[in-house]
C-alpha cells in the first residue's frame, strides 16, 4: 500500500512487454486508448466503478475484465494536474519565493551570502537554483566541495537563528569510501561554517543514520565525518532507519487496519509495526537538532546518505519547533516548499505518481511520516499551529492525488523543465483560497516560543483519523465538535462585544457632552484570552 498508494492501476499481471511505457508527464495520454492486451487475451466486459482505496479514498475508474486479469484504469489520466483547469482566486505558486524567505530570516548577512551558482543546476541537479552559503566560501570552493559530497549536495544553510545566529545546514554524506578519502576543501568549508558562530568552538554534525549503516555506506563510496579528520566537529548518529524500513513498517500498519481492524491484540500489534517507534526516533532527532541550535548555541550540520529523505524530515521538523512562522498556514506551505520540494525530496520516486510499478524499491512514505510527526506535535501543542488536522490530511490526499502540480517530480530542475508552475495548479491555491476551512480555532500566535514535543511512546498515538478513517466502526465526529463549538463561542463573543459597543455608543450619545464619551469598549477590554 505504501509502496504505490497512488497507482491508478490495479493490475496484478506481470510486467507486460507489449505495453508501451506510458509517458511520464501523461499530457498526451488518451483516455480512450484501448486496453493493452496479451496475444489471446480477450476483453470480456468493462464497467465504470469507484475503487475505494483505504488510503487515498475513492478513485473513479473503469475496470476491464479479460479472460486473464482485472485491470483498473483511472478515468483521470495518471497526471491529471496537467489537465486540471480549476481556477482559484489565489495563485499558490507565489507562496514561496526563496529570496523573500531568506530575507525574512535576515539573509544575506556578513557571514552568509546568497549564491546563484546553481542557476542552471550545474553544480547540483537536485538542489534549488538559489543557495545560501558561507560568505567566505568562494564559488570555486563550492565546486570542489561538491565533488566530495554524494550527488554534489554540498552543505548549505537551511535556517538561521534570529538571535544567536547559529544555523542549520543540510547536505549529503561525504564520499569517504573504504580507503578513507579526505577532501581539504570540504574540511575547510565545514570549518568556515563553524567560524560563523563564535559562541561555541565545535560544530555539531548529526548523521541521521544508525552508526552501522553509516559505516556500511563506506563500501559504496559514502561514509561520515570522522573525528580525526574533522577536528572541530562532533558527530552524532540519530539511529533513524532508511526508506525501506519505513516502507515495511507502514505496510505492517496497513496489515493491522485493513481489510479488518485488528482487535484482540491491538496495542501489541501496533507496537510490533514499529511505526510509532520510528516516529519517536525522527522526532527525537529533530528535538536534538532544535535544542542544539537554541540552547546549545551551536551550529549544526544535518545529513543522511543523499540528504533528501531523513535530512529533510529533521531540518523541517527542527525548523517547525524553532520558528513559529512555520506554524502558520503560509509558513508551513513555505516550509514544505523549501525543505522538501525545492531541496529535492524525490516525490516522484517515493510516491510513484502515474507509475504502475508499485513494488518499486524507491517508494517510501517519508513525507507521510513527516506529516505524522507534525500531527503528533499539533496534538501536544493544540494552540501552537494555525492549521488543523484537515489541513494535514488535505496535503496528504493531494500528495497522492495528482490533482495539483505541487508534489510532482523529483527536483526543481525537472519541474522547471516540465514548466510545472505554468501548466499546473498549486495545491496552495486550493488551500489559501479557502483558508478558514483549514484554520485551527485554538491557535494563539506566539513569537519565539520553541516547542519541544515529548517524543515518548507514552505520548505518541496512532493517527487514527488518517490511517483508519475509512472504517465506519471507528466513529469520529467530523468536523471536530470541539472546534466547531469553540468557533461558535468566539462568534458569540464578537457579537457581544459588538453589542456592548453599540450600547455604549447609544449611551454616550445621550450624554450631553460628546467629548466625554468613552472609547470603544472593545478597545478598553483586555484581549480576551480563551484557553482550554
Amino acid at each position: 500500500m505504501a509502496s504505490a498508494p497512488t497507482s491508478k492501476y490495479n493490475s496484478h499481471s506481470l510486467e507486460n512487454e507489449s505495453i508501451k511505457r506510458t509517458s511520464r508527464d501523461g499530457v498526451n495520454r488518451d483516455v480512450g486508448e484501448p486496453l493493452p492486451r496479451l496475444p489471446g487475451e480477450i476483453r470480456i466486459t468493462d464497467k465504470e466503478v469507484i475503487y475505494i482505496c483505504p488510503f487515498n479514498g475513492p478513485i473513479k475508474g473503469r475496470v476491464y475484465i479479460t479472460n486473464y486479469r482485472l485491470y483498473l484504469r483511472s478515468l483521470e489520466t495518471p497526471i491529471f494536474a496537467f489537465l486540471n483547469e480549476e481556477k482559484f482566486n489565489v495563485d499558490g505558486w507565489t507562496v514561496y519565493n526563496p529570496v523573500e524567505e531568506y530575507r525574512r530570516q535576515g539573509l544575506p548577512n556578513h557571514h552568509w551570502r546568497i549564491t546563484f551558482i546553481n542557476k542552471c543546476y550545474k553544480l547540483c541537479d537536485t538542489y534549488p537554483a538559489l543557495l545560501v552559503v558561507p560568505y567566505r566560501a568562494s564559488d570555486e570552493d563550492l565546486r570542489r566541495v561538491a565533488t566530495f559530497r554524494s550527488r554534489n549536495r554540498i552543505p548549505v544553510l537551511s535556517w538561521i537563528h534570529p538571535e544567536n545566529k547559529t544555523v542549520i545546514v543540510r547536505c549529503s554524506q561525504p564520499l569517504v569510501g573504504m580507503s578513507g578519502k579526505r577532501n581539504k576543501e570540504d574540511e575547510r568549508y565545514l570549518d568556515v561554517i563553524r567560524e560563523t558562530n563564535r559562541q561555541v568552538n565545535k560544530l555539531t554534525i548529526y548523521d541521521a543514520r544508525p552508526n552501522v549503516n553509516a559505516v556500511a555506506n563506506k563500501a559504496t563510496g559514502g561514509g561520515y565525518e570522522s573525528d580525526d579528520v574533522y577536528h572541530n566537529a562532533e558527530l552524532f548518529f540519530l539511529d533513524i532507519h532508511n526508506i525501506h524500513v519505513m516502507r515495511e513498517s507502514l505496510k505492517k500498519v496497513k496489515d493491522i487496519v485493513y481489510p479488518n481492524v485488528e482487535e484482540s491484540h491491538w496495542l501489541s500489534s501496533l507496537e510490533s509495526t514499529h511505526w510509532l517507534e520510528h516516529i519517536k526516533l525522527v522526532l527525537t532527532g529533530a528535538i536534538q537538532v532544535a535544542d542544539k541550535v537554541s540552547s546549545g548555541k551551536s551550529s549544526v550540520v544535518v545529513h543522511c546518505s543523499d540528504g533528501w529523505d531523513r535530512t529533510a524530515q529533521l531540518t523541517s521538523l527542527a525548523m517547525l519547533m524553532l520558528d513559529s512562522f512555520y506554524r502558520s498556514i503560509e509558513g508551513f506551505e513555505i516550509l514544505v516548499q523549501k525543505e522538501w520540494i525545492s531541496f529535492g525530496h524525490k516525490f516522484a520516486s517515493r510516491i510513484g505518481h502515474g507509475d504502475k510499478n508499485h513494488a518499486d524499491a524507491d517508494r517510501s512514505p517519508i513525507f507521510l511520516q513527516f506529516i505524522d510527526c507534525v500531527w503528533q506535535m499539533s496534538k501536544q501543542f493544540p494552540t501552537a499551529f494555525e492549521f488543523n488536522e484537515r489541513f494535514l490530511i488535505t496535503i496528504l490526499d493531494h500528495l497522492y492525488s495528482c490533482r495539483f502540480g505541487t508534489f510532482l517530480y523529483n527536483c526543481e530542475s525537472a519541474r522547471e523543465k516540465q514548466k510545472v508552475t505554468e501548466r499546473t495548479v498549486s495545491l496552495w491555491s486550493l488551500i489559501n483560497s479557502n483558508k478558514d476551512k483549514f484554520k485551527n480555532p485554538f491557535y494563539t500566535k506566539e513569537i519565539n516560543r520553541v516547542l519541544y514535543p515529548v517524543a515518548s511512546m507514552r505520548h505518541l498515538e496512532l493517527w487514527v483519523n488518517y490511517y483508519i478513517r475509512w472504517n465506519p466502526r471507528i466513529k469520529q465526529q467530523q468536523p471536530n465538535p470541539v472546534e466547531q463549538r469553540y468557533m461558535e463561542l468566539l462568534a458569540l463573543r464578537d457579537e457581544y462585544i459588538k453589542r456592548l459597543d453599540e450600547l455604549q455608543l447609544a449611551n454616550s450619545a445621550k450624554l450631553s457632552d460628546p467629548s466625554a464619551s468613552p472609547s470603544s469598549p472593545s478597545q478598553m477590554m483586555p484581549h480576551v484570552q480563551t484557553h482550554f
Partner: protein, 533 residues
C-alpha cells in the same frame, strides 16, 4: 479510643517533594488524628499543607545518617516524599501514619469531625433519594410503584428503604422474590426509557442451586415487567458472567434464570471481570505508568498486558448492548452478575448515560451516582479500602467505580460536548471515593449508613461540590445539551488511556523533554528528585 495513643511524636522538621512541577516545601511536620500537616517556615508561603491520613495507601521509610525519608503512596495515586530530620522522628512519624491510616472504624473517621464554614449539616442529604426518581417515572407510566417494603432493611440490607417495582406485584411477593435472589436483591427498576417505554432492571443472581429451584413470585415479577411495558414486549437478561461461570454458581447455591421459567426473557452472557482480576489489572497499570525506567519500546505491549483497556472495552460494549436492546429493539433489560453490586451497576449506570440526556447534566450525573452506586449498595468501604499501591493482601478491593469513571471519561472524549461535567468531576469522584472529608462514600450500603448516622453527622459531597469555586473546576465549558443517545465506539482503536490532565507544556525549559515527562493516568507527578534542581 484516643488518637493520642497512636500519635508517637509531636513534630519534626521536614521537606516535602510533591512532584517535578511543584517546588519542594520545607517546614514543620506534625500529625493529628486525621491529618498530616506541614507548616512552612515564616519565610515561605503561609499556606498549610494538609494530607488526609486516610488517603495514604502505602508507606515506605528509609533512614540514612541522622535523617530519614518517608515515601507516601496515596490512594488518589499521588506519590509524596518527605525528608525528615532525625532518625527517631522519622520512625515515629512513620509508625504514627501507619497506625492512623489503617483505622477501620467509620464513626471516628474524619467526615464525622469535618465542619467546614458555609455548609450546614444535612443540607444535601435529601438531594437524590429514589423518591425523586420515582416521581420522574410516574409522570411517564403507571406500571410502577414506590415500595417501602424494605423500610427496615429486612428484605435486602444493601437496598435503600424505598425501591421502584412493578405496580402489579405486592410487597409480600417482593419478600419471596428477595429470598430467591442473592443478598435479597430482587429485581428493581433502575431506569425507565420513556421514548421506547422499556425499562432497565437490576438484581442479584437467582438462588436456583443445584436442584434448579424456582420461585413463582420472582417469575411473576418479571412477567409483570413485560406486561407493564407493552403487549408482546420481549426482555433480555444480561448476565455479566460467562455461561460456564453462571452454571458453576449453581454448585454454591446461585445460578441463573432457567429459560422455561421466564417466558419472553432471553438470556445473554457478557462476561465482565470483577474483584481480584480487576484489582490486579489496576495495580499492574499503575505500576507500568509509574515505571519510568522501563524501556519505552515495550510500552504498548506492557499497557496491553495490564488488560485495563480491555476491561474498559468490554464494559462499554456491554453497556451499549443493554442500551441498544432498549432503544432499538424495544426490549426490557434485566442486568445481574452474582451479587449484583459491581458489574451490574457498571452496566446499568453506563446504559443510562448513553440513553438519558438528563443523566449527562451536572445534577443528573450526581443523582445517577447517588441512585445507581451509593443507594444501590455498591460496597464502597470494602472496594475502596485500598488503592493500587497497598502491599496488604487484597480482600474485597476492586476498582469497579474507577472503571465506571474511566468509561465515562471515554464517553466524554468521544462526545466532548455532550457531558455537562468535565474531567475534573471524574477526578474528584475518584479521589473522594477513596478518601474524603465528606460522608457520601462512607459505608457499604444504606443500612450501615443509617446505623452510623452518616446523614445527620457528616456533610454530603454534593453540597461540597456545589460550592461555586468547585463548580468551575468540575464543569465542561463546551457543554451543549444533546437530546440524543450517544453511542460510543468501543473498538480498541477508539479507546485511550486516561492520562489525567494534559501534559504540561515543557516550553520555556531548555532541558529536553524526557526530564519533564508527565506521568500517565490520573497519575499525579511522581515525586522523584528532579535531577536538574
Amino acid at each position: 479510643m484516643e488518637f493520642a495513643e497512636l500519635i508517637r511524636t509531636g513534630q519534626a522538621q521536614a521537606e516535602l517533594l510533591r512532584g517535578p512541577e511543584e517546588p519542594p516545601l520545607r517546614g514543620t511536620l506534625c500529625i493529628t488524628g486525621h491529618h498530616l500537616m506541614l507548616s512552612p517556615g515564616p519565610q515561605a508561603t503561609p499556606d498549610l499543607w494538609l494530607l488526609l491520613l486516610r488517603n495514604v495507601d502505602s508507606i515506605e521509610k528509609r533512614v540514612a545518617g541522622d535523617s530519614g525519608t518517608i515515601t507516601l503512596r496515596c490512594k488518589d495515586l499521588r506519590v509524596l516524599q518527605l525528608d525528615i530530620e532525625g532518625v527517631e522522628a522519622t520512625l515515629d512519624i512513620a509508625r504514627s501514619i501507619e497506625a492512623l491510616s489503617s483505622l477501620e472504624s467509620v464513626i471516628t473517621s474524619f467526615p464525622f469531625f469535618y465542619r467546614p464554614k458555609g455548609l450546614r449539616l444535612g443540607d444535601a442529604w435529601h438531594f437524590h433519594p429514589p423518591e425523586c426518581y420515582y416521581k420522574r417515572v410516574a409522570r411517564e407510566t403507571n406500571a410502577w410503584r414506590l415500595s417501602e417494603a424494605n423500610e427496615d432493611f429486612s428484605l435486602c440490607p444493601s437496598y435503600p428503604r424505598a425501591v421502584i417495582v412493578p405496580r402489579a406485584v405486592d410487597d409480600s411477593a417482593l419478600a419471596r422474590s428477595a429470598r430467591f435472589r442473592q443478598g435479597g436483591r430482587f429485581p428493581v427498576l433502575s431506569y425507565y426509557h420513556a421514548p421506547s417505554g422499556t425499562v432497565l432492571l437490576r438484581a442479584g443472581q437467582p438462588l436456583t442451586g443445584p436442584q434448579k429451584r424456582r420461585c413463582s413470585e420472582d417469575e411473576d415479577l418479571l412477567r409483570a415487567v413485560l406486561a407493564g411495558a407493552r403487549p408482546g414486549a420481549r426482555g433480555f437478561i444480561v448476565d455479566t458472567r460467562s455461561p460456564q461461570a453462571a452454571k458453576q454458581a449453581r454448585m454454591t447455591g446461585g445460578g441463573t434464570e432457567a429459560k422455561a421459567a421466564y417466558p419472553g426473557w432471553k438470556r445473554l452472557h457478557r462476561p465482565l471481570e470483577t474483584g481480584r482480576p480487576l484489582q490486579e489489572s489496576f495495580v499492574r497499570l499503575v505500576e507500568a505508568c509509574g515505571d519510568l525506567e522501563q524501556s519505552m519500546d515495550r510500552w504498548l505491549n506492557r499497557l496491553e498486558s495490564c488488560r485495563w483497556l480491555s476491561h474498559v472495552k468490554e464494559t462499554l460494549s456491554t453497556a451499549c448492548l443493554a442500551a441498544q436492546s432498549m432503544e432499538q429493539e424495544g426490549a426490557c433489560v434485566l442486568v445481574h452478575g452474582a451479587e449484583g453490586t459491581d458489574s451490574t451497576l457498571l452496566i446499568t449506570s453506563l446504559a443510562q448515560l448513553i440513553l438519558d440526556p438528563l443523566s449527562r447534566t451536572m445534577a443528573g450525573f450526581q443523582e445517577l451516582i447517588e441512585r445507581e452506586w451509593i443507594q444501590a449498595g455498591h460496597p464502597f468501604q470494602l472496594r475502596c479500602a485500598h488503592s493500587a499501591f497497598s502491599h496488604a493482601r487484597p480482600k474485597h478491593e476492586a476498582p469497579t467505580f474507577l472503571l465506571f469513571l474511566d468509561c465515562v471519561w471515554q464517553l466524554g472524549r468521544q462526545f466532548p460536548l455532550s457531558l455537562e461535567f468535565g474531567e475534573g468531576m471524574l477526578l474528584a469522584l475518584f479521589d473522594h471515593a477513596y478518601a474524603s472529608p465528606f460522608g457520601t462514600f462512607l459505608c457499604n450500603n444504606e443500612k450501615e449508613r443509617c446505623l452510623c448516622e452518616v446523614r445527620t453527622r457528616t456533610h454530603s459531597l454534593w453540597s461540597g461540590l456545589s460550592q461555586p469555586k468547585e463548580q468551575r473546576k468540575l464543569r465542561n465549558p463546551l457543554y451543549v445539551p444533546n437530546p440524543l443517545a450517544i453511542w460510543p465506539s468501543a473498538e480498541p482503536q477508539s479507546l485511550r488511556l486516561w492520562q489525567g490532565d494534559p501534559p504540561p507544556p515543557p516550553w520555556r525549559s531548555s532541558r529536553l523533554c524526557s526530564a519533564s515527562l508527565p506521568v500517565l493516568f490520573l497519575l499525579r507527578p511522581v515525586s522523584a528528585r528532579d535531577p536538574s534542581t
